[in-house]
């Protein structure tokens, strides 16, 4: 009963991403380890290696970073899964954003609003650094790959080179069998 299974998986996709939508402070980059934890460890929709492939694809394609979510849905339940996962990921935060925008002028300068923004920043930075770390640990197995990741991190941090060039360098070095 593939269809029945699919409905269950679609429900699980919706449940996970409806929640993650509201937890994704700082955007999709903050929740990559959590997406990986749920998709790989909890639900078994894909292997860790497949998750990193999906991550690579989503980074190499045009569009917002959040699109990794659609590939998780696609792996779990095909094209419908991709749309369900994306919709679930965007709907709660969008509704919240719409509602808050109505009242933004009233609390824009409120002390609690400013304190919230100050409080969120370090948490976001820690989460995104964790994303980089978790991805590195699951992608890099040999020292060459660690050197590549560290070099790209340093170049990306210190220069304004377009990210696509750096991904291209990774693709070429990888294809040549050097990482």
């Amino acid at each position: 009963m593939a269809a029945a299974v699919n409905v269950v998986v679609l429900g699980e996709l919706a449940r996970h991403f409806l929640l993650l939508s509201l937890l994704s402070i700082g955007g999709a980059n903050s929740i990559l380890p959590e997406i990986q934890r749920r998709a790989v460890d909890v639900e078994g929709w894909m292997t860790s290696a497949e998750f990193t492939q999906m991550f690579a694809l989503s980074q190499a394609a045009p569009g917002p970073n959040v699109l990794i979510v659609s590939l998780v849905g696609w792996k779990a339940a095909g094209y419908v899964g991709a749309v369900v996962a994306m919709a679930a990921m965007c709907a709660p935060s969008s509704v919240l954003t719409y509602q808050i925008a109505n009242a933004w002028d009233r609390f824009r300068d409120a002390p609690w609003r400013i304190a919230t923004q100050v409080a969120v920043a370090p948490v976001t930075v820690g989460l995104i650094l964790a994303s980089g770390y978790v991805l590195t640990r699951s992608i890099d197995h040999e020292w060459q790959a660690y050197v590549l990741t560290a070099t790209i991190a340093a170049v990306g941090f210190m220069s304004r080179v377009h990210p696509l060039w750096l991904l291209g360098v990774g693709a070429i070095l990888g294809a040549m069998g050097l990482v």
Binding site: R108, G126, P163, A171
Partner: protein
């Protein structure tokens, strides 16, 4: 200063649903690894729907809230001109093409994924992309350097999620209020 996010200020009414859809459609396919700069270009420089200040204000709100920042921007801009229908037109326009392109790529990729050269290239791309993620975190972390408590909170989030791999819900439930309490005391 006119504030961009509420409808209190008289907004241009000539930005229709079709404009919102096509404007954000263009933004969606423009950027690799983040499309915010392209959203700014479209909104402020090309179509002039917003002033630079209005865009900054909208961006501040979008980043303040959970969810993909760029989707939040599309929701706020769409709402400003055409209420709920505008938000839907803008956000669907934003995501439609990137989603179609990515799913096409993924389907094509599945057909060639078994070739060793493709696997090796993918591995190189993901190793590089992990580096880019670290670079983003370092750039965002720059302003935190002068403040010890922010470094402690950022480190705690990093260790809890990255090293110990705790569920995000619990980490946020603890670190969120803690960080807020410190920020409130020091305000």
């Amino acid at each position: 200063m006119r504030v961009g996010v509420t409808a209190a200020a008289p907004a241009p009414t000539d930005v229709g649903l079709k404009d919102l859809f096509t404007g954000f459609l263009q933004v969606g396919i423009s950027g690799f690894g983040g499309v915010l700069p392209f959203a700014r270009r479209m909104l402020v420089e090309e179509r002039r729907w917003l002033t630079a200040d209005e865009f900054n204000e909208i961006l501040a709100l979008a980043q303040f809230l959970p969810g993909p920042n760029i989707v939040n921007v599309s929701v706020i801009v769409g709402r400003r001109f055409q209420r709920v229908a505008g938000s839907v037109a803008a956000s669907v326009g934003l995501m439609l093409m990137p989603l179609a392109i990515l799913l096409t790529l993924a389907t094509l990729y599945a057909g060639v994924a078994q070739y060793p050269i493709v696997q090796r290239a993918t591995h190189g791309v993901s190793a590089a992309a992990a580096g880019l993620m670290i670079a983003v975190a370092l750039k965002m972390g720059q302003p935190l350097r002068k403040s010890a408590w922010k470094i402690v909170i950022a480190s705690a989030a990093f260790i809890a999620i990255g090293v110990v791999r705790l569920p995000l819900v619990w980490v946020l439930a603890v670190l969120g209020p803690l960080s807020y309490a410190i920020a409130w005391r020091l305000r």
